[in-house]
Symmetry: C2
Subunit: 436 residues, 2 copies
């Protein structure tokens, strides 16, 4: 079975918890996960047991959400977390976001290469610009313009890749007998001088078994799309339905062709939230209970906003009254709004509408393990770019359910690997060795 | 036995090797140690077996020496290395250098706090400015002035400590029942605006069991001395003889008193190179053989420079001829030069003079385990600030010899702990919990 006939999966925990803001309160989850490396390490080991391509860490270096009642969105430094995971796993890939908006190329190049060497070629760098002011103001006196951020990002990415390439594989001699450590004629300065960043190089470390880390990008934003089209090895995308996913992949393939690249040069990971239970009814109840742990009133209000009606004061255990529905004004161009309207029209209770996830950032795959596998299979067969980034609802226990209950079904259907074929992340994504 | 009656020890490997530049070629050492995390992890486990206070990593982010024949001085990123060590040890302290010359305070604060949380309070930050142009030019378009570096360093240190203090211990509630994650009224922005760095805060992580990381500094340089006097918890010093060490400690104590601080508020770690063997003769032969692995001619030339005479073409196996010695002009103010002259006057062969280490940066403790322990005891009893940073000659095997052969002697003499008394590094150094 070739690479393109099986799906690729990364998994994610948000600062040690699931994607739902009440995850820290869910029975069985660790309330202090955001500072407990053991939770992250266990998550990595669970992911590896499921032959998952990689663990993925988003990152916003700051406190970007209100943590009076919700868990924080990010916490421990991703390099520290992924290094801990590298020490406790053998094959799992390790992908971290590190922003180009305020980090130095030499630090990015060196930290990712160090982690890539420690993990023997399992690392990916997710190239992003930072939007959250709660992070930007931890580094900069004011908010930079998008143009500034995109221009700096291009420079940082270029400089990092050049630094990685500055030490070619054959420059390391380690000739103990002859006393030749390295062929320094092959290790060259890069003398990078951009408008925003400067770095002389060379990098002080040789390539890993995969060469350089896999380059990911957040391909939804404009600059991320450009990087995905021109050179990235993988991209995260956040479509809410199959149609949006297909449209993105089709547009990306065309843009890649203009750069002389083939579809198999990249893997698109679409974000999916999973909620696994014994029945669909149980999964909906699980999600409603999770909602109840984290400010359900504001979720109801947001649902109303999406439908163009006010839902305050209504009984969440009942359907939206028909006369109110008659005044609903969804936004058809927004698939979330369309989905909310469709669920409401079916007469579902407000709790169940919300449980289906129309106000979630990612689509929700919920129900029995078979139902979750069905959704992934349907998307996969619809030609959406071969990959998914799985975000479990509550936390580590939900990740474990996905790995132990859904992945075996995907494996039985021939949709997912039963063993790690390639030792490096680059190889696993069907990409050749590359350094610089 | 109180803290002040026992010595404190940190140990160090230079990028995975010993301090001698031919260490990578020494039998039993790993030639590829600089990219092999297992070597670092084993070193940490050996150090922990010896109840050593902490493993210490210097750092120059760049290629600061010629690696055609010698091992590199630095390699893997210190945060990656220390995280790996944290995962493989329980009690060992972990101290890394991170420069204030080009790093952002928020990154320093967050990476060290992350590591401090992962290790449960075992981390130290060594605050330094960077001098090596091979590192500076990886970050900056030109070489900054000393004034610029010192002023920026003061700001970065201040901002980092404020960020650490921005999340007080009692702000983390984790009240699962009541749904209160944190008392956000206690987690405050710091709004730091300096001339060189800006950071709003707060930090996104609570304190570790020791509060904030232990602050080390390189106390030989002027700015490091100021930080050591004013507030640092520990300092590295590089005296070549007991008199210099005493002078430094006495000067530092006076400077601390002017800041209202007591001697026990700081631990001074003096750098010592160790070469352990069965006899003194074997230790000298070992060191001569290590010299032979790394450009011995240039070492002879440097010895000549120190003595003010030319030694080219002389038989290294013989003493310096008396007529040549009559023309020697050592520099009496330089203890290394004084030591070289004294050894030469005793009629030692050139190889043996060099083996005694007069051209090494640190003094060399060589000979039997007892002799090495004797030197450490003599220094310790001479009131030099209670600590040593041990740099073994060849690498991990030499570190193992020190731990397994010298430390038991120090323990029998009551000079070093037999078990880890305190779980945190701060506690081990006799310092109270502190955060910000």
């Amino acid at each position: 079975m070739t690479n393109s006939e099986q799906m690729h999966l990364t998994v994610q925990l948000s600062s040690g918890y699931g994607v739902e803001p009440g995850g820290w309160r869910w029975p069985g989850e660790n309330p202090s996960a955001f500072v407990d490396i053991e939770t992250f390490v266990k998550a990595a080991q669970v992911a590896e047991r499921g032959m998952v391509d990689a663990f993925f860490m988003v990152d916003i270096p700051g406190t970007a959400n209100d943590i009076a009642r919700s868990q924080p969105q990010t916490s421990l430094d991703p390099i520290v977390v992924l290094t801990s995971m590298a020490m406790a796993t053998e094959r799992l890939g390790l992908v971290a976001t590190m922003s180009t908006t305020f980090n130095e190329p030499y630090n990015i190049a060196r930290q990712f290469r160090s982690l890539d060497l420690v993990s023997k070629g399992r690392v990916g760098w997710n190239v992003v610009t930072t939007g959250a002011s709660a992070a930007l103001l931890n580094y900069l006196p004011g908010l930079p313009s998008s143009e500034h951020k995109h221009a700096r990002s291009r420079e940082v990415h270029e400089a990092v890749v050049k630094l990685w390439g500055s030490w070619p594989q054959d420059a390391l001699l380690l000739d103990v007998e002859g006393g030749r450590f390295a062929d320094t004629g092959k290790i060259k300065s890069i003398d990078y001088r951009g408008e925003f960043v400067t770095t002389k190089g060379p990098l002080n470390l040789p390539p890993s078994p995969q060469g350089m880390p896999v380059v990911f990008t957040a391909g939804g934003a404009q600059d991320g799309f450009q990087l995905a089209a021109a050179s990235a090895d993988a991209t995260y995308n956040n479509p809410y339905d199959i149609q949006s996913a297909q449209r993105y992949w089709s547009t990306l393939k065309n843009a890649m062709a203009r750069h002389g690249r083939k579809p198999e040069d990249i893997t698109v990971f679409s974000g999916i939230i999973t909620s696994v239970a014994s029945t669909e009814r149980e999964a909906l109840d699980r999600r409603a209970a999770l909602d109840d742990l984290a400010d359900p009133d504001s979720r109801v209000a947001y649902l109303g906003y999406m439908l163009g009606i006010h839902l305050d004061g209504l009984d969440r255990g009942k359907a939206i009254p028909q006369d109110l529905m008659a005044r609903a004004r969804p936004t058809p161009a927004d698939p979330r709004s369309r989905r909310a309207y469709e669920l409401a029209k079916r007469g579902l209770t407000i709790r169940d509408i919300l449980a289906h996830g129309p106000i979630n950032y990612h689509p929700v795959a919920l129900g029995t393990p078979e139902q979750v596998a069905d959704l992934l299979e349907a998307w996969f067969r619809a030609d959406i770019g071969r990959g998914f980034n799985i975000t479990p609802d509550s936390g580590l226990t939900a990740l474990t359910d996905f790995v132990d209950q859904v992945i075996p079904i995907l494996q039985r259907r021939g949709l997912f690997r039963k063993a790690y074929d390639e030792p490096t992340l680059r190889g696993r994504l069907g990409l050749p060795y590359r350094n610089g």
